[in-house]
């Protein structure tokens, strides 16, 4: 499935707890794809850090990068210091607003807050306008759509028709709605059609939005999968320790994925 990704494409990845397709890292590295523009919805973690460390990422739009209890994201921090990464610091609801604008194919959405922040000051693509509905001074920020070429995530279930069950992790649906294409790994592909159980239907992303699905048991590990299995914090800790240096990360990448850091 990673063969579908092309150099320079915009790739959206979900927050740690929502269903990260860690299983897709190997095929992405193998595919040799590079110059990715990552969008983390709304924050990034291990998956983004590995792709950054491996030299596959050109720019990053996110409201935060963290390994949670395991601390800062080491490759991200190094890339920021070296200036290797074009950074688009954001705030969570601005990421959501951008995706929503793409879902509705709107040229912008307004968002409150942000005025007077350095987040806004460094975003040339965001604008402050006067609220056109009132005469009195009322400034409001507008943000452009975020339309990923691909959204990639991991979910509990899919059926053979390509319908994917995400339960109440609706940010995954938002990613699929916004993206031109969506690639999903799941714990299990079941026979029959998920819509046959009307109880499940509220949590389904219909195949209309899904371009490829593959089975990958425990495909979110070391992250957990919402209500299915827990996070392996110790694995994140080990990663944090190993990736602390450039050499340590290169060794990790080689050992775990047989991959090299692209420069």
């Amino acid at each position: 499935m990673a063969a579908r990704l092309s150099n320079g494409c915009k790739l959206a990845l979900p927050v740690d707890y929502a269903g990260v397709s860690m299983a897709m890292i190997q095929p992405i590295l193998d595919s040799g794809v590079r110059d990715l523009d990552l969008v983390c919805v709304p924050t990034g973690g291990l998956q983004a850090d590995i792709l950054i460390g491996a030299g596959r990422v050109r720019s990053l739009e996110t409201s935060a990068m963290t390994l949670g209890e395991a601390g800062g994201a080491p490759c991200f921090i190094r890339a920021m210091k070296s200036g290797a990464l074009k950074m688009r610091d954001s705030t969570c609801p601005a990421i959501h607003a951008g995706l929503m604008a793409a879902q509705k194919d709107l040229p912008f959405l307004p968002i409150r807050g942000l005025i007077g922040t350095d987040v806004l000051r460094h975003r040339a693509d965001w604008k402050i306008i006067q609220n056109p509905m009132v005469e009195a001074e009322d400034k409001i920020v507008i943000v452009p759509p975020i339309a990923p070429d691909f959204s990639l995530f991991h979910a509990p279930l899919a059926d053979k028709d390509g319908n994917v069950w995400i339960g109440r992790r609706k940010e995954l649906a938002a990613m699929a709605y916004a993206a031109k294409r969506t690639i999903v790994t799941v714990e299990k592909i079941v026979d029959g059609n998920l819509f046959d159980d009307e109880n499940l239907s509220a949590g389904i992303i219909p195949s209309l939005y899904i371009d490829a699905v593959a089975e990958a048991e425990f495909g979110a590990r070391p992250y957990g999968l919402w209500a299915e299995y827990g996070k392996q914090t110790e694995v994140l800790m080990e990663y944090a320790a190993q990736a602390k240096t450039e050499d340590g990360f290169a060794a990790y990448l080689s050992e775990k994925y047989g991959a090299e850091v692209l420069t």
């Binding site: 927050v15 935060a64 990068m65 610091d89 601005a94 109440r168 940010e171």
Partner: protein, 255 residues
């Protein structure tokens, strides 16, 4: 007199600050704010009041959101969330917070995770409590290097919320919205004004002899050590165990 651990002092201070809240949102990695919210709920219920709603972000069991991670922000905009907690790698005397890094952006010397939802929530949640246990001049600076979210805004900027207080391991400050600065409200037991002033890189208003952060009433301490510790064990088992051990150590010392 009850002996109280430093964590318990902070938890009780949080519960006090949350008085009158109906819905409190807490980040997943914030056990002391969560414990304070749980204590607030326990106190209100014990007094026969309405039970405060607590949403722990990223939790399956303590989170009723069903509309994805955008729901918190929509709720905040509508006033459906009364209180939230923010922190900062740097916090300055004007209530500005910096979650991005130290030095010239973007190639900062020190880079932190990022602004998360602060650049939005700080404007919209009526009671934002700034919480940072470590109290050093490294954190509490005169001017932040990057404004993730400003403490105040001019009159023409749409703003329904902002900081009401700053709670640290040493003291509790109130934020004066009109002056745009902090006033020392109380100093936690075992600390003093000189120490707090030394540890704080910004100037703040204070009495000549600021009061000590008050110990909780025995009934409140009982709620904390019984019901709240039990609630905490489900969601923050490590923190609950640590707190239990601290309480046990304390009672050994005082006995």
């Amino acid at each position: 007199m009850n002996a109280v651990t430093p964590s318990e002092v902070m938890i009780c201070a949080v519960a006090n600050l949350l008085d009158g809240s109906r819905h409190i949102a807490v980040g997943a990695a914030s056990p002391i704010p969560a414990a304070g919210a749980m204590l607030r709920r326990a106190i209100d219920e014990a007094r026969g009041g309405e039970s405060v709603r607590i949403s722990i972000l990223g939790s399956v069991d303590h989170n009723v959101f069903t509309n994805g991670s955008t729901e918190l922000f929509d709720c905040a905009a509508q006033g459906r969330i009364d209180a939230f907690f923010l922190s900062g790698g740097q916090i300055d005397g004007q209530g500005n917070i910096n979650l991005v890094g130290i030095g010239e952006y973007p190639e900062t010397k020190v880079r932190w995770p990022g602004s998360f939802g602060s650049a939005y929530l700080y404007f919209l949640v009526p009671k934002v409590i700034l919480f940072r246990e470590e109290h050093t001049p490294r954190i509490f600076v005169d001017k932040v290097d990057f404004i993730s979210a400003p403490g105040t805004s001019d009159k023409n900027t749409y703003r329904k919320g902002g900081p009401i207080a700053l709670l640290t391991g040493k003291a509790l400050f109130r934020f004066d919205k009109d002056k745009g600065s902090f006033d020392l409200q109380s100093i936690h037991p075992g600390h003093n004004l000189d120490e707090v002033a030394q540890a704080t890189g910004f100037t703040f208003g204070h009495d000549d002899s600021p009061p000590t952060t008050s110990d909780p009433d025995p009934e409140i301490l009982n709620l904390l050590r019984a019901r709240v510790l039990e609630d905490l064990s489900e969601t923050y088992p490590d923190f609950a165990n640590k707190l239990r051990a601290e309480i046990a150590a304390l009672s050994e010392r005082t006995n």
